[in-house]
Amino acid sequence: MKISDVITEYTPTIGIECHVQLKTRTKLFAGVGNDAREAEPNTLISHICLGMPGALPVLNSEAVHLASRAAFALNTSPQKFSKFDRKHYFYPDLPKGYQISQYDEPIILGGYVEININDRLRKINITRAHLEEDAGKSTHPAGKDYSLVDLNRAGTPLLEIVSEPELHTAQEAKVYSKELYLLMRYADVSDANLYYGNMRFDVNVSVSKSKELGTRTETKNLNSFRSVEKAVDYEIKRQVELLEKGQKILQETRGWDDVKQKTFSQRSKEDAHDYRYFPDPDIPPVVLDDKFIARVKNEMPIMPSNLRKEFLPLNLDKSAIDTLIDSINAAQFLHNVISRTSTENAKRIAVWLAVEVQSIVSTGESTWEKVKLDIDSFIRLSEMVSNNELSSTAAKSIVGELIINGGDPKKIAKDKNLLQLSDASELEEIVNKVIGDNSNAAQDVKSGEMKAVGFLVGQVMKASGGKANPNLAKELIMKQIGIN
């Protein structure tokens, strides 16, 4: 049996849970620094983080604010009433013996993420998103019979975003994860640094031949879009293979081995956790009033899906749009450009951003945060191309100068001697010389060989050091040869 022959008979169903680390200064329930990236173990801890008896956790208002922003990013509003619950389990990196989370009244219910699958827009519904504290980190020294626990990360605020099981391919799972990442960055609720695990994905996968869903597995802690795609792909194949052999899928939690590119069993859901949730008496409920909700809504920036719609009339190719959207600075700059100038200028500037600026950024010469993006200069530069004062090649070279050092594009063009020869009398001299030097080509043109015109224009461009206005050059050549 070959999997590829039968896999199409099965419909995979995928739901994704994503833990987003919120970019607060301090932890969710303690006034202790939140940035554990470079900190020595257990230097960002307090009696609250250690779960000492009598410690009173107090909710960080900024976490509520950021979660509310995330709600709008997910095309919904935060719940007016939400509360915190204790989720009980024993693990050495969870000192209290329970995690403070939100069970039946989370801060976000509903909403959706819009994704583009093969040029079709689809809405993936969000079930819920809730606030909870992260656990600590344990390490296992080689050859030792003990483990070490660092609680710096214990209590870091997380927003767990749960999607409806509405994804059906590994590619869709990847696109959804990437879009969620963009939304969290645009909403500015997380540093969304995947390397540091600021966003971690758990994928629930099942396959079925009928309308009824199959038994699902959960593959946890994926920290890149690629691993989301690969893990889903692997799980679909593995499950179909088992079912084809007449075996059953175990409902279990699996891990992802990035080296072997395989999922592996971690624990079965047989001893499914009985978390014994109950309302946390330490944390009074959160009640958000209309004024707060309206204020947060008002402060939201323009989001990727709206930007893409705005960029549509510019007729850019998909990779250029992706490049621009990937860099919030580029996309927001273009958004401002569009409101200020013609479509022609906006499109030219968009391409400069996606190609010229992007190449400078990707070589590491500068970053999207550092480059100087001045609307007036960019529009003036584009207008110079429209007005034939500058060739498009020359303009591109000025873009580099503009974003690193800034300045007036016209002055830069002058200083670099890039202004086009649009003065007929100056250009005529060059044209005459070129025709004189290339009499054969001129003869060809005369006898109707129009291809030769291109050659002559090329020669004029060369002789002028790229400064000739090609349209004017062509006009003068034709005039000189005597064809109109």
Partner: protein
Amino acid sequence: MAKLSKEDVLKLARLAKLHLSDDEVEEFRKEISSILGYVEQLREINLENVKPTYQVTGLTNVMRSDDIINYGQNQIELLKNAPQSESGQIKVRKIL
């Protein structure tokens, strides 16, 4: 009255990480059954339009601003609360 099985008690014990002797299992089976029976009386009350009580304080929105608080603590003092530690980390029985 609610009757707990031996398995129920063992499950509770496992979730609470407690080791119980056979005698204790039987003892707790009776005790917890009677507690449950007592609480079960609440089922006789009609609670149709009553909101669950999440809190008895009546408080809402008890929050702090996102600022570092000096709790006057240091790592060495805090780690003394752990049974064992090693180079700034808490030492526990091997996990994996």
